[in-house]
Amino acid sequence: MIGAQLTGNLMQGLILGGIYGMATMGLSLIFGVLKVVNVGHGAFIMIGAFITLWIFTAFGLAPVIAIPVALIVGMAIGFVFFYLVMRRLIKAPELASLLATFAIGILLEEIAKLIFGSEFRGYNWAAGKIILPITVFPMSKIYAFIGSIAIALLLYIWFKKTRAGTAVRSVVEDSEGARVCGVNVGWVYALSFAIGIGLTVTSGVLLTMFIPVGINPYMGGGYTLKAFVIAVLGGLTSPYGAFFGGLIFGLIENGSYTLFALIPGVEAFAMTRFLSFLILLLILLIKPTGLLGAK
């Protein structure tokens, strides 16, 4: 009985993990290139969620339409914040960039609160469901999973096959070396930050399909913390590492929740979160290059 339940939850975890992974790729890309931890990560996810809600309720369009809109809006926001703020902080100590990204996160949350109010809002995209003997998958979640894999693949191809992608990889490897070889490092910083933010905002679109209680301006904080764990699982500097980190994290989260729920006298939800931060610390200490990383 518990076996079937565990299997069902692990399948759900894998689907959710795909979204988690996609939601962390932006964080890892930005850290890999700029060496800046975006502490305001969750606020950008929140923006994606509100774009989806707006497109769905105002125009009645399927949330899938929101993906390109979110990507463009996200990249635009990314360029704006890069040229206004981040450009000046690349060489600054961590203190400055950590505080700046946190402040940007707060700013976005407060603007969202001003526009949308702070109560929870939800929408329901009834797109049918797949019923399996052990679990039920709403089609909306399946679409979100396919969407996240497609986006991850597109990013992979962009990285490996295009000139711009190669330039970004060279900066991740060695920014001084890239500069010597004629790469416009300043532009690579701007582009990577914008793409990173664009991906994060887009992931907010996909995540709304997994949030039953609805969204509000302060929904992002929990995702920022999860994204840190996932990024560390993937080695912090690699977007694909982050994607696989997300899959693993989804499995761990749902699997451990099912098991913790069996132990009397503990709060399963909190223990799951505790386990995730324990994993974060262990990986940082034992293998900071991530589970899949080299060395």
């Binding site: 902080l89 961590e94 203190l95 707060i106 912090l236 503990v266 909190a270 979160r273 324990l278 900071p288």
Partner: protein
């Protein structure tokens, strides 16, 4: 002998500032609450500066030490209130417990996380803070997610009058005391071997290591000092003042960010910085709450961004540059 005292001259403006603040609070009616808030910000800024300012390591989970200190006081009051003969002793035991618990946690965290640098250290400390909170909630330690409420025990032991005096006056006076101690420790470290070691470490850790400085030792000393003071701040400003402890609140990451803002605003690694930063931050926050209630963060966030970009060395850093070569220079450090 004279040289020894001259060393501590920069403490004069700091202590004068605290004295003026204290006198305003005591003598002007209705000001005590604001003064208490400012004392809290100054004390926690001064304590955090010892680690953040002097080492340049960003501890994003600093609030955990305040949280643990809060639990120290809460545990002492809720468990020992029946022991009649202890009297005020339970407050002292609470403070000691806060000090011990915060330093034990900092030793554990320091031994593990201080191996990491830069962003990795920041992420690890966030992990410790959140992990600790969810362990308390999940394994139902110390009341789990319901926390500990001990206002009843406090009034029962000391009577309504004394208990309310303890929360509204003595807890805040103790904050001034912590702020003064933290300022003294700051200058003591700055003027001693540890200060020079930490300056070398902050500028270039590898070079410092090569020069034969035991960087790990000094890092961990600064870390433990800063954390124990945070434990005391938690025990007085949160436990005694609010008379309850509630995990999501005492491990809230926003408090860490407030501490970072205070240190950065005033000037990281300076003695006067946390006082200036604490006062400016506290007054601005208070003022914004009064004139634009509900929107203070909307205005505050861009201000912070501008400060980081335009004045990364903080207010005292700017002053230091302005007064270079004048008589004031020995007071502004």
């Amino acid at each position: 002998m004279k040289g020894k005292i001259v060393k501590y001259y920069p403490l004069i403006p700091v202590y004068i500032a605290y004295l003026i603040l204290f006198l305003i609070g005591i003598n002007v009616s209705g000001m005590w609450q604001l003064v208490a808030m400012l004392a809290f910000y100054c004390a926690i800024g001064q304590a955090f500066n010892i680690f953040l300012g002097m080492t340049g390591y960003v501890d994003f989970g600093y609030v955990a030490f305040m949280g643990v200190g809060t639990y120290g006081m809460a545990l002492s009051i809720s468990h020992l209130h029946q022991v009649q003969w202890l009297g005020m002793g339970i407050i002292i035991i609470g403070l000691l417990l806060a000090l011990v618990m915060a330093s034990l946690l900092s030793i554990a965290v320091g031994a593990v996380a201080l191996r990491l640098r830069g962003a990795y250290f920041a992420i690890a400390t966030i992990g410790v803070n959140e992990g600790f909170r969810f362990l308390i909630e999940g394994a139902k330690i110390w009341g789990g997610s319901e926390g500990i409420i001990f206002s009843g025990q406090l009034t029962q032991t000391f009577g309504r009058e004394t208990a309310s005096l303890l929360s509204t006056l003595w807890a805040d006076i103790f904050l001034f005391f912590i702020a003064c101690i933290a300022a003294f420790i700051t200058i003591y470290y700055m003027r001693g071997k540890i200060g020079y070691a930490l300056t070398a470490l902050r500028e270039d850790e590898d070079a410092a290591k090569v020069m034969g400085i035991n960087v790990t030792k000094y890092k961990i000393i600064a870390f433990i000092t800063s954390a124990s003071l945070a434990g005391l701040v938690g025990a007085s400003a949160w436990a005694l003042k609010l008379t309850y402890v509630f995990p999501p609140q005492v491990f809230e990451i926003h408090y860490t960010v407030e501490c970072i803002i205070i240190v950065l605003l005033g000037g990281a690694g300076t003695l006067l910085g946390p006082v200036v930063g604490g006062l400016v931050y506290g007054l601005t926050k208070y003022w914004l709450t009064v004139i634009v209630p509900g929107f203070q963060l909307l205005i505050f966030a861009p201000i912070i961004i501008v400060i980081i970009v335009a004045f990364p060395e903080g207010i005292v850093g700017v002053l230091k540059r302005r007064f270079k070569g004048t008589t004031f220079k020995k007071f502004i450090i």
